[in-house]
Amino acid sequence: MTAYISHPPFTSQSLQAKDLSCVRGEQTLFANLSFTLSSGDCLHVKGENGVGKTSLLRLLVGLAQPEQGEVIWNAANIKNDLDNFHQGLCFLGHRDALKEDLSALENLMMYAALAKVDLSHETALQCLWQFGLREREDLPVHYLSAGQKKRIVLARIAMRRAPLWILDEPFNALDFQGVQLLVQLIERHLSQGGMTIFTGHQEISIAGSRALQL
C-alpha cells in the first residue's frame, strides 16, 4: 500500500459510555451498559440481529438520546457540546451516504469540504486509486457496484482526519481485498492513537481489539 494521506498522530482522547440504556418502542434493548475507550483502543460490538447494535452506535454518535446514562467525550457529556464532539468523529452508517448522481470524485470532494479538509484534486484521485477505483472516479456513483461504493466510503474515512471512528457494519459488501484494506486502515488509525468502534458479523482479527457482546 503506498503512503496514505499522512497526518501527525492524535492527541490522547477518551470516549466513555456510563450505564447507557436504550428503549425502542416498548422494549428495552439494553440497560446500564458502560465501557471506556481511550487512544489506540478498538471495540468490536457483537450480537445477533435486532439486539440493538445500531441503536447503541446512534446513541454514541449523538443522533439519538439514551433513555438513561450519558456518553462522555473527553470528560464532557456530548449533549452539552455536540459540535465540538463532531469535530473529532467519523461515522459510517448502514447506508453509504453517497449521492448517486454525483461522481466518486465529486462525492469525495464534497465530504472533504464538509470535513474542513482541503483536499487537492491529485490527492483525492490518489486516494481513490488506492482503494481500487482507478478510471471510475468520474463515473456517477449509481453505475458502480456495492463493493465499489463501499470503497469510496473507505476513501472518505481515510481522507477524514478524525480520532474517533464509529463504523456500522463497515465490512459488508467488501471482497477479500477490500476487507484487508479496511483492516490495515483501522490498524494504521489505531497505531496513530485513534479509536474505533465497529459492528459486523464477519470474524475480523485486528491487533488489540476487544469485543463487546450485546
Binding site: 454518535v61 449523538g62 443522533l63 439519538a64 438520546q65 459540535d83 463532531h86 469535530q87 468523529l89 461515522f91 452508517g93 448502514h94 447506508r95 453509504d96 451516504a97 453517497l98 449521492k99 448517486e100 448522481d101 454525483l102 465529486e106 464534497m110 465530504y111 469540504a113 464538509l114 470535513a115 474542513k116 456517477p140
Partner: protein
C-alpha cells in the same frame, strides 16, 4: 461561510444533473396561472384585477410542490445523517439547502412572472411591484416551507400534510404580497407593504433554519 457555499454548490450541481424535477415545479406555475383565464373568461379588466392574487397563489403552490424534494433525497440515502454529524454547523448547512431551493424554485418564478403578467394584461407599474414583492416574498416561502418539509420528512402522505401545515403560515406573505400590487393599482402608497414583507423575511431568516435543523434532528433520531 464556506459550508454554506459548499451546500449551495452541491445542491445546484445535483439539480443540474436531474433537471426534470425542477422544471415540473416551474411548468406547474405556468399551467396553473393560465388555467384561471380559461375558468373565468377573457375579460381583461377582470383578469387585470385578479392577476396579483392568481400569480401569488400559484407561486405559493409551486414552491410547496418543490419543497417535497428539499430533504427527501438526502434523508433516503443517509446523507442527511452525515450532514448532521459533520464538523460544520448543521444550521448553516440547512440554510445552504434552503437557499439552493430558493435559487431553483423561487427565483425562476420571478423570471416567469412578467410572461404571465402579459397573459393577464398587467400594466408595467403593477408588474414591477409584483416582481419586487415576489423577490422579497419567495425566500420567505422557501424558509417557512422548509420547516414543514422537515417536520413531515419520511411520513406517508407527507405532501398533503405539509401543505396543511405550511399554507396557513404563508397567509401573511400572500396578503402583503398581493396586497401591495392591488394597493399600487388603486394608487395607494406601497411602502408599508414592502416594509412588512421585509420584516417577515428577516423574521423567517432568523428563525426558520434553526427550527428546520431542530425538526430534522428529530426526524433522523
Amino acid at each position: 461561510m464556506n459550508a454554506f457555499f459548499v451546500m449551495v454548490h452541491r445542491d445546484l450541481l445535483l439539480v443540474m444533473r436531474r433537471k426534470s424535477e425542477v422544471l415540473t415545479a416551474l411548468f406547474f406555475f405556468v399551467i396553473v396561472t393560465s388555467l384561471f383565464p380559461l375558468g373565468i373568461g377573457a375579460d381583461t379588466a377582470l383578469l387585470r384585477k385578479i392577476a396579483p392574487g392568481v400569480i401569488w397563489v400559484s407561486a405559493l403552490l409551486a414552491t410547496l410542490l418543490g419543497l417535497q424534494r428539499l430533504f427527501a433525497s438526502d434523508y433516503l440515502d443517509g446523507t442527511l445523517e452525515q450532514l448532521a454529524l459533520s464538523p460544520r454547523s448543521f444550521v448553516v448547512l440547512v440554510l445552504g439547502k434552503i437557499t439552493a431551493h430558493w435559487l431553483v424554485c423561487g427565483l425562476p418564478l420571478l423570471i416567469l412572472a412578467p410572461m404571465i403578467g402579459l397573459q393577464f394584461d398587467l400594466d408595467n407599474a403593477s408588474l414591477e411591484t409584483l416582481l419586487l414583492t415576489l423577490l422579497l416574498g419567495t425566500p420567505v416561502l422557501s424558509l417557512i416551507g422548509s420547516i414543514g418539509a422537515a417536520l413531515t420528512l419520511g411520513l406517508r402522505g407527507g405532501g398533503a400534510l405539509m401543505s396543511l401545515l405550511v399554507l396557513p403560515l404563508y397567509i401573511p406573505v400572500l396578503i402583503f404580497g398581493a396586497g401591495a400590487v392591488y394597493a399600487k393599482s388603486v394608487g395607494l402608497d406601497v411602502a408599508g407593504h414592502f416594509s412588512l414583507l421585509g420584516a417577515l423575511l428577516i423574521l423567517a431568516l432568523a428563525f426558520a433554519p434553526w427550527v428546520s435543523a431542530a425538526a430534522l434532528r428529530i426526524a433522523i433520531e
